[in-house]
Symmetry: C2
Subunit: 319 residues, 2 copies
């Protein structure tokens, strides 16, 4: 099978590229504009004759349509993942998430490709009333431009499935971490502690609960779904049955780094406007397909810290 | 209060303009590109010194921002309402519904306007599992590009409410009919029967059930909500407790026109791809604010036929 991966030089995308290339029958085309993706993440893939890298933007429909030629399955992972900054540049989510997703679907149509996997988010549940939150939770009210733009993307996939005979696989992620993780709490804390191991300033009150899934477990979950789910539109929460508090993760990070910082808190239940104090997804549906995570949250945080320690270059700004 | 109405020369928009102008304390600015709006609908409004018409497109952010200056409340009714043709030009819903809604929100931000009423649709429920469908029905799967684009608009309003302190009033309409109604079943049937009163070809099997709300009842419902609802994001189904079959409406239309056409059917449960065989909304929430419809569906259909008979010019193509 020949796969096309938008955002394939990013955290999720490059892990998927490697995972697919591990199966000798697969070919992979990565399409990435390197706005946040890193060429280093594709170091192994680039040595593989079954791998092709195309540098391009999802907003460039013509280039993406050309790059997609001959592919059979599209993973659309490219996105503005800068969730917290939505209000500072509201057009970014519209452009890079909603319009880009439309372009991916149109490029597929031009190439007669009918299967797509899409990285959505647990943020589409807004502040869920039902926790753990199942896929058919009550119709949510959006609380962030990021969530709204991902929901818009989900809607487009579903409408194309109905109107053009696509099969859509929509993954509502909790926070993912692990090798190549380059944004979010654990990254920020490691970066701050690298600069100054004696103190740590925490957004919110530290009691924000988070459910993290380890990236390699996430990859297996995605493959389980695209190989077993049978609907036109297949929507799956991807997460784990555990959760931790931000404070727990600070403990694991500090232990791993061998530091003991003095903590101070911004206060409040939310780390930022539109932050959700608790995203905890019901994952019965994906488990019913036979998948289960192998790593605990503590494992995942520790593997992430190990990766960041071994790869300090990821902390360096590139501009 | 000074109101800004996008799509104010359309069916819903022009009815709202007249309704607001009937209250002497209101001023109204209508913004419309006349792609489907009709200058004739504003005949009365144009005589009113409290009324201003600005011809412009919602995709022209600068022009819309200028036109909105000094307004205090925005009704965003401009949309691609050509629900059935989504698959023939999929970018139309994205542009005219999703991106246009983003522009409206941005124009408001530039003018420091914080209250917005938005015409969404019962189509956002996809093929609802719960009927009558309440606002907090299970998280739906989209079945049309139109529904998906309106859901994207809802998400944007909600995210702006959370992020920028807007108050959003989101109306999920069933089919609306009445004076100035110019698309949908009743319009199409009247047009066909005007051309040839002896026969009528019906999309689907005629058993598609529809719940129509009379436009003047719809206007009162909207005003009831914006004057009484108290949340940041106020989502209200607007519909009636009745429904009819397409065949019933054909009976009322034929009776009113004094014709007896031979009926033939395309067959199938759906009139077109993405058509929903039954949109029937639970309207307890809006009724709890004290509103109730005055017209029955039969009344609404008959008033519509009367309007179309008295205004045959609405059938004329304008291109």
């Amino acid at each position: 099978m020949k796969y096309f991966i938008t955002g394939g030089a990013g955290f999720i995308g490059s892990n998927m590229a490697d995972r697919l290339l591990a199966e000798p029958e697969n070919e992979v085309v990565v399409y990435d504009n390197f706005s946040t993706g890193r060429r280093e993440f594709l170091e192994d893939a680039l040595k593989n004759p079954r791998f092709t890298l195309v540098e391009g933007d999802t907003l460039d429909l013509d280039a993406m349509t050309k790059a997609m030629a001959g592919c059979e399955f599209v993973f659309h992972f490219a996105a503005n993942a800068d969730v917290r900054m939505g209000c500072e540049h509201p057009s970014k989510d519209l452009q890079q998430n909603t319009i880009a997703t439309f372009n991916v679907l149109e490029a597929m149509r031009a190439n007669d490709i009918k299967r797509i996997g899409f990285s959505s988010t647990g943020s589409v549940y807004g502040e869920a009333e039902v926790i753990p939150t199942p896929e058919d939770a009550p119709f949510p009210i959006q609380t962030s431009l990021y969530g709204a733009s991902k929901l818009a993307g989900e809607g487009l996939l579903a409408a194309y499935a109905e109107g053009f005979g696509y099969t859509a696989y929509i993954f509502r992620f909790v926070s993912i971490l692990g090798e190549r993780y380059t944004h979010g709490h654990v990254f920020d804390f490691c970066k701050k502690l690298k600069d100054d191991p004696t103190k740590l300033y925490v957004l919110g009150n530290g009691h924000q609960r988070k459910s993290y899934l380890y990236v390699k477990d996430c990859m297996e979950a995605i493959l389980t779904v695209i190989r077993n789910a049978k609907e036109k539109v297949n929507i799956y929460n991807l997460g784990t049955d555990e959760y931790c508090e931000v404070n727990d993760s600070i403990g694991w990070i500090s232990e791993k780094l061998g530091v003991n910082p003095e903590l101070s808190y911004a206060g409040g239940e939310r780390g930022w406007i539109g932050d959700n104090p608790f995203i905890y997804l019901d994952t019965k549906k994906v488990r019913s397909l036979g998948w289960e995570p192998k790593a605990t949250i503590a494992d995942g945080v520790k593997k992430t810290v190990e990766y960041l320690q071994a790869n300090p270059w990821v902390f360096e700004a590139r501009d």
